[in-house]
């Protein structure tokens, strides 16, 4: 069952992104920023946890989940370190996503011969 709900949640987020790509003139970069920002806003309103409750990884893995991780990190940082946490918390919260992206990107560059 968690697999199904994750599939539905993640799939619908991707459908939304695909509609933005197909129906608007926004570039892929615009679309990505839009989804990170949307995730952050929804998280700030406190609704993103409801989505994670239902969809699990289907909600955390897509880009909106990255926005949520940023906001969550900032709120945690604010609680623990006060004003300083406002600046450090975001990256701390998103460390997982950023580090995986860097390591995976590096590994792909080492293992494969980029031709594009």
């Amino acid at each position: 069952m968690p697999y199904l709900t994750a599939f539905i949640t993640g799939g619908l987020l991707c459908v939304a992104a695909q509609l933005v790509v197909n129906l608007t003139q926004l570039t892929p970069a615009h679309t990505m920023v839009l989804f990170v920002s949307a995730g952050a806003v929804i998280s700030g309103l406190g609704w993103y946890d409801v989505l994670i409750e239902f969809g699990g990884a289907g909600a955390t893995v897509p880009l909106t989940g990255f926005g949520h991780a940023l906001v969550n990190g900032i709120l945690d940082g604010l609680n623990q370190k006060g004003l300083m946490g406002l600046f450090t918390g975001g990256i701390t919260g998103a460390a997982m996503g950023i580090t995986v992206a860097v390591i995976a990107g590096y590994a792909a560059a080492v293992l494969f011969d980029p031709k594009g």
């Binding site: 790509v21 197909n22 003139q25 570039t27 892929p28 980029p114 031709k115 594009g116």
Partner: protein, 344 residues
């Protein structure tokens, strides 16, 4: 917006000495070789990289190979070429400039985006017809992967291709024009006239829909040509636009019809539609400098030689955008030049 087909001055040049199309050469990549015209090209490369280090170097090799095929067929040496007119889609047209290092011919590098092929033919005809040059070699090349990197994103980025987008042709075509007299009993093809296109902008700003951006320019030049030479479209066995694709060609036909010139779809073909099969996942069709060049130098030239086509109007179309300027939200101006060939 300009009224299509109504430039204030006649822009058609008559070539009274009728420069001869002596020879053609065409080389394509594997995808083009697998397309409906695959059998007509001089050489189909099995590897997109052509054994080179980069896509840009592969594109250069394509251009050089097409020139070689053209010269070998004409039994001429590189030093017999009195002027080389070449262009491509890379920044600073490096493919042509670097390829020209290997030829001692005086060189003009041209940029008219995908209209470069007929731009080169037109200027080559002027130089030969004017008696300034005895031979003029006109060549263009493009490479899908190099063009993706230049205009959109490297192919490895894996960007999605929207439904109206087109697939840049990997290939090159070369034509040798010369002042040679017509030989009796041989199928001789000559350039009889050409129309210089003007820049037309119908406010299409989507860089993934170049067919729609170029269609008005194609219609404008075809209509202006027909007006200047006082002919109906039926005079031509084939009107070949360069790379409008399925969307753009239908729009161009509609635009011409709107100005009272009905051309039937069989007579007006498009290189971007002809070169790939729908099953090849190319969305709206082919595009690129090499699209018109390969289709003409490979397919149409053979049909003319075998006397299956006698009068052909080649109208290569170019979208004059750059990645920078389209990111700034500007619309896409386009240009098309027409060159009229006839079999004598």
């Amino acid at each position: 917006m300009q009224t299509l087909g109504d430039p204030p001055t006649p822009n058609t040049l008559w070539f009274s000495s009728e420069p001869r199309l002596i020879s053609c050469g065409s080389v394509v990549g594997p995808k083009e070789g697998a397309g409906p015209l695959g059998d007509h090209f001089d050489h189909v490369c099995s590897d997109e990289r052509l054994g080179e280090r980069s896509w840009e170097q592969a594109e250069r090799r394509l251009l050089m190979a097409a020139i070689d095929h053209c010269l070998v067929r004409a039994k001429l040496k590189p030093e017999d070429v009195q002027v080389l007119l070449a262009g491509d889609l890379m920044d600073q047209i490096v493919t042509s400039g670097y390829a020209a290092r290997h030829h001692n011919a005086p060189f003009f590098g041209l940029y008219g985006a995908c209209s470069t092929f007929s731009e080169a033919l037109l200027l080559g005809s002027v130089l030969v017809d004017g008696g300034y040059r005895k031979t003029a070699l006109c060549a263009t090349a493009s490479h899908h992967n190099a063009a993706e990197r230049q205009f959109r994103a490297p192919t490895e980025f894996g960007a999605q291709r929207p439904p109206l987008s087109q697939w840049t042709v990997t290939g090159a075509g070369a034509c040798l024009l010369g002042a040679e007299p017509v030989v009796k009993d041989e199928p001789c093809i000559v350039v009889e006239s050409g129309t210089i296109g003007r820049v037309v902008d119908y406010d299409v700003a989507d860089p993934y829909d170049l067919g729609s951006a170029m269609a008005p320019a194609a219609a404008d030049t075809v209509l202006a040509h027909l007006r200047d030479v006082q002919r109906s479209p039926e005079y031509y066995d084939l009107i070949l636009t360069g790379d409008l694709g399925r969307v753009g060609r239908d729009l161009a036909l509609e635009l011409a019809g709107g100005q009272g010139v009905q051309v039937d779809g069989e007579r007006w073909q498009d290189g971007g539609v002809l070169i790939y099969d729908r099953s090849q996942n190319v969305r709206a069709g082919g595009s690129g400098c090499a699209c018109s060049a390969c289709v003409f130098c490979g397919y149409v030239w053979r049909l003319m030689r075998s006397r299956n086509l006698r009068r052909v109007l080649v109208v290569a179309t170019g979208a004059l955008l750059s990645p920078l300027i389209s990111k700034q939200g500007e619309s896409i101006p386009a240009v098309a030049h027409a060159v009229s060939f006839k079999l004598v």
